[in-house]
């Protein structure tokens, strides 16, 4: 019945309604009190988070098979909503400081998150495409949110043009798969290909086109060109949100669509491509990061490198290790998400007005002057590198184990070597922060500091007791 369908997507529906409410209520909030909008937005995210948690343990499909509510969707939606809360915390004082405090930020953020949540539920290619657009379009605008500033406008335009192009690839891929099987629902496509009525050539072309489109969203090499410029130009809270949530959404799409559709023969054709993409992404991301002088560009290349590590865990998805591939990808997404938001919080705290203070040299002396931020940054950089006693270590260990057990030892070796390379540029940030003299000013505001310290604490504590997260990700099974 209709009501059941609506209950199934209640967290999503509530968030969309809340986004419209935020937009309306914002009209009556005076310019000097925009923090109220932020608080309302956070309340909406918390509400949706509560509704999502109430769905825990469910496993059913709704809307005639268009959406699937399962453990996978619940876990990813928790990641997306938590990312939303982090993005609100990062923006709370930042927007005011930069003179771009406007209510649309929050409404667009909520719309983007609702697109991501829809992606987690999607079990039909039409929904996958619409979710991709719903999450991307608000982000094109958010990237240009500091509008009169030319870098921000450049970032927005680049992201929009390349993003629209990538969406075209996805849509073309969906059309090809529809042409091959006359179905768009994942179960129907699998059935059509299994019964031999589908056209294998169109099907594999569709798979390739989808890979290009999703590869763009997760910033995998060779579709990564936009990342440094877009990350540098966008307002820092938006960049932080993009580096975690958009990447997670891209991997959601990959996991949902690829693990369901492209198995058997198609997987045999696809895995060399995926292997190459993963290896190239790890190498290019880490090597290019070495020469960066701007912290935002450095973290942008680092996010490319981490997309490579995630792809490495994703490569064995078609073997008997599918469960491990999904679980280790999700585990690393959580580890990377916590670490990344923390690192961006430190960047937001030390950023000066008009996008100044973002060179790595500007961080000189920050470690001594702000011991808590410095300590947090040590944790994040070690976790990015994958050094023990941080969550990043467990994440990488799990990734490597999945790759090795899947028989992709070469790939694991590439990952290991590039991790060693990455230590150089991550530790250089710490060297500058602690060894060089300087007088930076942290003005991030309380929420940013809390976010930095809380994520640092989480990265360390969860590394000491990784059991609960391992348990969570292994239960995040997709309804098939």
């Amino acid at each position: 019945m209709n009501l059941e369908n609506l209950v199934a997507i209640l967290p999503l529906a509530a968030l969309i309604v809340w986004a419209v409410l935020v937009l309306l209520v914002d009209l009556w909030i005076p310019k000097s009190r925009k923090f109220i909008t932020a608080l309302i937005t956070a309340a909406g995210l918390a509400l949706s988070l509560g509704l999502t948690l109430a769905q825990n343990g469910q496993s059913r499909s709704a809307f005639g098979g268009m959406v699937a509510v399962d453990g996978f969707a619940v876990l990813l939606n928790v990641i997306f909503l938590a990312s939303g809360l982090a993005a609100v915390a990062l923006a709370y004082d930042y927007l005011k400081r930069m003179g771009i405090e406007r209510g649309e930020y929050y409404a667009l953020l909520l719309f983007s998150i609702s697109g991501m949540m829809l992606m987690a539920y999607a079990s039909d290619l039409i929904i996958v495409f619409l979710a991709l657009e719903l999450l991307s379009i608000p982000l094109y605008v958010l990237a240009g949110f500091a509008r009169p500033r030319s870098e921000s406008e450049e970032s927005s335009l680049k992201y929009f043009l390349l993003g629209a192009f990538a969406s075209g690839f996805v849509l073309y891929g969906v059309a090809m798969i529809f042409g091959a099987t006359a179905r768009t629902d994942l179960a129907g496509i699998v059935a059509a290909m299994g019964s031999g009525t589908g056209n294998p050539l169109l099907f594999i072309i569709g798979a390739g086109l989808l890979l290009v489109g999703f590869g763009f969203k997760v910033a995998a090499v060779p579709f990564h060109m936009w990342t440094p410029d877009v990350y540098q130009g966008a307002p820092t809270p938006v960049t932080g949100f993009m580096s975690v949530a958009v990447k997670a959404a891209g991997f959601t799409a990959l996991l949902r669509v690829f693990t369901a559709l492209f198995r058997g023969d198609v997987y045999a054709d696809l895995w060399p491509l995926l292997w190459g993409m993963a290896a190239l992404t790890m190498i290019a991301g880490n090597v290019l990061a070495i020469s960066q002088k701007n912290i935002k560009r450095l973290l942008a290349y680092s996010s490319i490198a981490h997309a490579g590590y995630l792809l490495m865990a994703f490569v064995p998805y078609g073997t008997r290790l599918q469960g491990d591939a999904v679980a280790s990808t999700l585990f690393y997404l959580i580890a990377y998400g916590l670490t990344s938001f923390g690192a961006w919080a430190v960047v937001v705290a030390l950023e000066k007005n008009e996008g100044m203070g973002l060179e790595i040299e500007d961080f000189a002396g920050a470690g001594r002057r702000y011991p808590w931020l410095g300590l947090a940054m040590i944790v994040f950089m070690l976790s990015f590198t994958g050094i023990p006693l941080t969550l990043g270590f467990w994440g990488k260990l799990y990734l490597f184990r999945t790759a090795v057990e899947g028989g992709y030892i070469g790939l694991a070796l590439v990952g290991l070597l590039t991790s060693i390379v990455s230590a150089y540029y991550y530790l250089r940030v710490l060297v500058v922060m602690y060894m060089k003299p300087g007088e930076p000013v942290a003005q991030g505001g309380p929420w940013v500091n809390i976010l930095a310290v809380a994520t640092a604490a989480a990265v360390v504590l969860l590394a000491l007791f990784p059991g609960p997260i391992l348990d969570l990700v292994s239960k995040a099974i997709m309804l098939q």
Binding site: N2, N5, I16, V20, L23, K31, F63, G64, M66, V67, G99, I100, E101, R102, E104, A107, L108, F111, S112, S114, G115, L118, D124, I126, I127, L130, A131, E133, L134, I137, P138, Y140, V141, G144, F145, R147, P148, S156, N353
Partner: protein, 172 residues
């Protein structure tokens, strides 16, 4: 010759003539208006073929949305209203060649298609539209994409307004 055939020939002639005017009109604005006439001619041909759904879509989407979009784009673009430069450039014969090639290709494909001379019976056209409309709001079919598309358009609308409005005051 039946009345229907006379009407068809007349509409086809108008459609083709206005299509020629689209590319030969000196002013962009005139070209856009000729395009509307040409698209309307196609809509009439659909109507003559008893394809009610395509007629409606042609009018709503092509004339109602795309043509209006083009006219807006012309009016909002600086200097595009004035006529500038010659109509032809050095590569005109290449474009002509491509156009003739595409026409010849389509003609060959259509003529070799076995159904080219078959007369279409009364199709289940009206029923199809009803089914289509019902499917769009059927919770077991397409209500989800339908609603999500509207949310997406709302988000795009907000974004477009944010990007295009001049923000005065409140800026440093």
């Amino acid at each position: 010759m039946t009345a229907l055939q006379i009407i068809f020939l007349f509409v086809a002639a108008v459609t083709l003539a206005s299509a020629v005017m689209v590319v030969s009109a000196r002013r962009m604005m005139h070209a856009a208006l000729w395009l509307v006439l040409s698209l309307a001619g196609v809509a009439v041909i659909f109507a003559l073929l008893d394809a009610g759904f395509f007629t409606v879509v042609q009018v709503l989407v092509y004339i109602g949305a795309i043509a209006i979009l083009i006219i807006f784009a012309i009016m909002l673009t600086r200097k595009a209203m004035e006529d500038v430069g010659p109509q032809l450039n050095r590569g005109w014969w290449l474009a002509a060649l491509a156009a003739v090639g595409v026409f010849a290709g389509l003609a060959v494909v259509l003529v070799s298609w076995p159904g080219v001379n078959a007369s279409a019976g009364a199709g289940p056209d009206a029923n199809l539209i009803v089914t289509f409309g019902k499917d769009l709001v059927d919770p077991h079919k397409f209500v989800m994409p339908f609603e999500v598309a509207s949310v997406m358009l709302l988000a795009a609308l907000i974004g477009a307004i944010y990007v295009s409005v001049e923000h005065k005051g409140g800026q440093k």
